[in-house]
Symmetry: C2
């Protein structure tokens, strides 16, 4: 059993390979070629923690993957990261464990960032360049880095909004080390009114973005809502969208950004396209200049499979 | 993260400690003090394989455990063991991975064997000594070794039945290395008619043991049925039992030995005691000499938690 630590895994991942692998994964998922049982969940209310188990198998794949991610939100008190995790890769021919990826949650962070950028590239206007990042955490960082990677031909203008001035300053400093210049937004409303692309990355349980703030032509990618009760966008805003793309209709309807809007019948899930369906149809989404579009990503086991396989790409698998 | 291989784990497990830990686990489970979500499952029909994920957390425990077990039944063609597996132990305070137990399924085999012996000791007659083992595989071996350990004061007479003469010979030779003398049963019927305790350990999908073969006073522990469709005991036999004990009412009703009998209304699950309930009430089951009793064990995540903790007992856990 190969055991790889975070640093080794990071060296092995080429972002372009990962993007291709994630696209193939989404395509296979929407084509019904991925076995992805419901996400396993354990809650630890006393420690303000939770654990999610995502696992699955792509048809014909010699490997399958079980990904465990934990979020323990009181860790900040002791300067520990709140997120952690690992993946275990097994042979789908013999059941033998093949590899343990001790990535400490980094693969999940990366695949989430890259998937957001893939979705944004599909849905946003071809001339969109003003980017607003909502949230100053790990996903605020990775969504921006991934978007800049995937839209490398555009001259992006970037602003960020967060609740904490210290975290905004740290975010801007951190992005500067990657050569990314980020302005601080005057307010969340101002960010919304002046962005072509908005990426929301917060664990908010109350809608942050209001419908009236969003101008025609805006694309929003929302990645914060990944569990029941989380919501970043007002229901009116979701209801007003001309097109909604999700990673998984059942999962987003259950606990994604669109869940409340679907429950309130402001959105018909049957009209939401899956990202894999769009990719299977050529990867282009026809949109009007003035359309408001939303991508709602909750994270799929197939992404964990895809990214784990990229990490193992140079490894010969027995079995 | 501590990484232990099978040989190291085997050295760390004291059977008496494991028995105590399993009993405490069953007690906590039946007292509603263990979070045990439904078992995760992936099937690999092309490889005749499956994967089960059992996971959970005992109230107040600083650790939680995710156990993965695989069964790939075509492995025998290449002399690989069909079973494999591992456990990952996490801190329930910080979400950090604490240990990987690369036991290759041995901990599952052992906790299943020990649980069978615990159940048999609770339910069988105090003068029961004639033991019939049905099946010559790993559980046929471990159930017997565990029963002999737990009933060390009785002079057991043991017979075994299986379909393959070669496997019976190998079983008897293997048990002889542990100082256990085992006779070959003339037939399964003969084994049933002459045993006080019958342990069934096969993956049979058709009932093997018929009601007419079981004499009054017999206790049967059935551990083979651990997935939908598996069944070792005739429904009439299950219906005839004077007492049935299960590890988990919901799990056994869903896919244990009693599942078919419950579906056919031959058994009322409300009348089946859980092993943890019996242990919480003092661990004694009042029985008539002539009662036929059945224990149906499907395997609980709390057993995986308990046995993993025994393997880690000498390890100081941070977090």
């Amino acid at each position: 059993m190969l055991i790889l630590r975070r640093e080794e895994i990071q060296k092995r991942i080429d972002w372009d390979h990962a993007i291709d692998a994630l696209k193939e994964g989404f395509k296979a998922a929407s084509a019904g070629k991925v076995s992805m049982p419901p996400v396993g969940y354990l809650g630890f209310p006393e420690a303000d923690g939770d654990c999610h188990i995502k696992y699955g198998h792509m048809e014909g794949d010699p490997l399958f993957v079980i990904k465990v991610s934990t979020g323990f939100y009181r860790n900040v008190e002791t300067a520990l990261p709140s997120s952690n995790g690992l993946s275990i890769v097994f042979s789908a021919k013999t059941g033998e464990p093949v590899a343990l990826l001790q990535d400490e949650g980094w693969l999940t962070d990366l695949r989430t960032g890259l998937a957001g950028a893939i979705a944004t590239q599909i849905m946003c206007r071809k001339d969109a360049f003003r980017v607003g990042i909502v949230g100053t955490g790990t996903q605020g960082r990775l969504q921006l880095r991934a978007l800049r990677h995937i839209l490398k031909d555009r001259n992006l203008e970037i602003q960020v909004w967060g609740r904490s001035p210290e975290k905004i300053a740290a975010y801007r400093a951190d992005m500067a080390t990657f050569g990314i210049d980020v302005c601080e937004a005057a307010s969340l409303e101002q960010l919304c009114r002046t962005s072509d692309i908005i990426i929301t990355t917060t664990p908010s349980k109350a809608p942050l973005l209001q419908a009236a703030w969003i101008k025609p032509g805006t694309h929003i990618t929302a990645v914060g809502a990944d569990a029941p009760g989380k919501q970043e966008l007002a229901v009116q805003l979701v209801g007003r969208a001309n097109a909604i793309m999700v990673d998984s209709r059942p999962q987003c309807t259950d606990h994604g950004e669109i869940a409340t809007a679907v429950a309130m019948k402001a959105v018909d899930p049957a009209e939401c396209l899956e990202i894999g369906e769009v990719l299977n149809a050529g990867g282009l989404l026809s949109r009007q200049e003035s359309d408001i579009t939303i991508a709602d990503l909750t994270g799929l086991a197939v992404q964990d499979i895809a990214i784990a396989k990229v990490a193992l790409a140079t490894v010969t698998v027995t079995g």
